[in-house]
């Protein structure tokens, strides 16, 4: 198990390194530069040249890359061009909102997805299953930002039940300090979290239904029934324990889904998180901020899949016993 864990960690670091490298190269090769005159501003070419020198942009790309990596080894993510502060500070501010949004969406995703999938499996091929299956398919085939826009339009714009964007009321609750402000946060959170959560839950429900039906036909489920166990126990103990194994893998896959989803949903709902930060940084060619955000995001995804694999190994005695991961 330990050797396996070390191998997995090494692979994780390699993946993050690869993502950082690719992002670094791509964003530098993208057309446009961070310091340029545009329609509104006339900037002295002297100033631009000085800024480029100051941030090392006048160096050849390989040199910049090596310098970036050297700083990274010292825990330095560099200075954000557009925010005029360290990249680490900008990211640190954006992480809690994204964590709040993605975490809530994750709970909705799995709580709702597992419950619905289980219900569908038990009522397989009957009305409830078929109806829910179609609803799930609808949500599943809908792009997250599109669902977000619809919810925004209906519940924010027309019905005025939820706010049309932002994370908190800037006047009443500049930061969460009281129960009322927590309520305000939840009120702002509902639509974006539902957008992400519902799309995720639709996929999770389909997996869970399939996993449950697959397991329900297994010989050991029949053995459990032949023992005289209650149907509840047969399904919720003997079948479900096995059906949850593939769902753990899905849990690992939820991280990349939630992060990419967050990018779009945060933009739709003006949610001040990592997704919005990254998009803005890309548009402004804020190289260090883009690369830093990619580093954090890939780190989270890789960590998520590592956690899923460890959970899998713990949950499945066949893997636990062998002492090796999948």
């Amino acid at each position: 198990m330990t050797a396996w864990l070390v191998r997995r960690l090494a692979a994780a670091i390699a993946i993050v390194f690869a993502v950082v490298t690719i992002t670094f190269v791509l964003i530098h090769l993208a057309p446009g530069t961070p310091f340029a005159a545009d329609d509104q501003r006339q900037v002295d070419p002297e100033v631009i040249a000085r800024l480029r020198r100051q941030f090392g942009l006048d160096q050849p790309l390989p040199v910049q890359y090596v310098l970036y990596l050297r700083n990274l080894l010292h825990g330095e993510l560099g200075q954000s061009f557009s925010q005029h502060r360290p990249v680490a500070a900008a990211i640190a501010d954006a992480i809690p909102p994204t964590l709040t949004l993605a975490g809530t969406a994750l709970v909705i995703d799995f709580a709702l997805g597992l419950a619905l999938g289980l219900y569908q499996a038990v009522r397989a091929r009957r009305f409830g299953d078929i109806a829910l299956g179609n609803v799930a398919l609808f949500f599943n085939s809908m792009p997250t930002f599109w669902l977000g826009l619809i919810l925004l339009l209906v519940f924010g714009q027309w019905l005025h039940v939820f706010p049309v964007g932002g994370m908190r009321d800037p006047v009443l609750c500049p930061s969460v300090t009281s129960a009322r402000c927590l309520g305000d946060l939840l009120w702002h959170l509902t639509l974006p979290a539902l957008t992400l959560g519902l799309v995720g839950a639709a996929a999770t429900a389909r997996y869970q239904r399939a996993a449950m039906l697959e397991v329900a036909g297994q010989d050991y489920v029949r053995t459990a029934r032949a023992k005289g166990l209650r149907e509840r126990r047969v399904l919720l103990v003997h079948a479900l324990r096995n059906a949850l194994l593939p769902i753990i893998t899905l849990f690992g896959l939820a991280f990349p889904f939630l992060l990419t989803g967050a990018v779009l949903v945060e933009r739709v709902f003006a949610w001040p998180g990592m997704g919005r930060l990254s998009v803005t940084a890309i548009f402004q060619r804020d190289y260090p901020l883009v690369t830093g955000a990619a580093l954090v995001a890939s780190g989270v995804v890789v960590l998520g899949s590592l956690v899923a694999d460890v959970l899998y190994a713990v949950a499945d005695p066949r893997i636990r016993g062998r002492g090796a991961g999948p």
């Binding site: 010989d219 096995n242 066949r318």
Partner: protein
């Protein structure tokens, strides 16, 4: 004679197949009895309905696609199992009637220890505490001959060989001392040497616990060695039923004759009788389209016009007491045809 423990009458279990190829009449009017303490052998080729029959007894047929037809009747200890309420049915399953399955590799739950799985029935049916049930599970592992039971009780199925798993299945089935054990080809998936050990184990446990065993098998050698009476099945029906001695000495149904002819020598010791039921010419028909008339007629060397149109009922053998040797074949009404045949 004593009252039967289990009385199956006119059991019909059909499956509605999805591709619209019609209804599979997997078990189609099967009747037989099991007496207390005896071993009833059930033999027949693959697909003749042995497993479906045994699953029907405990109502374990997956529904859909399967269903047991109204009019079927399965009486156990004076009650019709087919009309029992779920709660009463659960009190029979694993407690009064237990079952072991063809596939020891897949019949145990991979995520629970064998001890947990063995103890479960005792917790449910005898309200034992977890500790007491665990102790019982260790006792059962000892009884079925698993070495180091105190340690094995905490092992998972994947840590055991096929033979060991089948012993675990037997331990699981017998923990509540059932009156009837249904063993559906308990040795088919195992090595030959392990097969013999498992059969000996079943024999010994049956004597010690005094239960009846319904032993389903492909293997006539197994029947000859263990069964008191035999039911021969073909195409979802019982075609012949007799005591083991009578059946081997005077097989009357052409199908049974064929089965026995495929066994090397009948008068040799049981251990040498290891024939498999594969040497009857022709194919078993599909359960969705049984042949009209006698279902065996396309493969029967004696068949004549009547066999293709009229379905024979179960007839009593002339030489035996009524009901002790029954055969589903028109030859019993026209025995001279058998003599005329080369």
């Amino acid at each position: 004679m004593t009252e039967p423990l289990l009385r199956v009458r006119d059991l019909k279990t059909y499956f509605v197949t999805e591709q619209g190829s019609g209804t599979a009449r997997a078990v189609d009017g099967v009747s037989f009895d099991v007496y207390p303490g005896e071993t009833l052998g059930v033999v027949g080729e693959s697909g003749c309905g042995k497993t479906v029959t045994s699953l029907s007894i405990l109502r374990l047929i997956p529904e859909p696609p399967g269903h047991i037809r109204p009019g079927s009747f399965i009486e156990f200890e004076g009650r019709n199992l087919l009309t029992l309420a779920p709660k009463e049915l659960r009190a029979v399953r694993g407690n009064r009637i237990a079952m072991i399955f063809q596939e020891p590799m897949t019949s145990l739950n991979p995520v629970f220890t064998v001890g947990h799985q063995i103890a479960e029935a005792a917790i449910v049916h005898q309200s034992l505490s977890r500790r007491a049930a665990r102790a019982r599970a260790i006792e059962m592992l000892t009884l079925v001959g698993i070495p180091d039971p105190g340690e094995r009780v905490d092992h998972y199925p994947h840590q055991m060989s096929g033979g060991m798993r089948q012993r675990v299945m037997i331990a699981m089935a017998l923990i509540c001392h059932p009156q009837l054990l249904i063993a559906d080809e308990p040795t088919t998936a195992l090595d030959v040497t392990i097969q013999a050990q498992i059969l000996e184990l079943l024999d010994r446990l049956q004597r010690e616990l005094g239960m009846a065993v319904m032993l389903i098998t492909h293997d006539l050698g197994v029947v000859a060695g263990s069964a008191d009476r035999v039911v021969v099945m073909y195409a979802g029906q019982v075609v012949e039923q007799a005591s083991t001695g009578e059946l081997f000495a005077r097989p009357l149904h052409p199908y049974t004759e064929g089965l026995l002819a495929s066994v090397p020598r009948l008068d040799t010791r049981v251990s040498q009788v290891r024939g498999r039921l594969h040497s009857i010419p022709g194919q078993v028909p599909a359960a969705t389209s049984w042949p009209a008339g006698c279902r065996f007629h396309p493969r029967c060397p004696y068949a004549w016009d009547r066999c293709a149109v009229e379905e024979p009922p179960l007839l009593d053998s002339a030489g035996a007491e009524a009901g002790t040797h029954t055969v589903r074949c028109w030859l019993l009404t026209e025995p001279e045809r058998r003599e005329r045949h080369p």
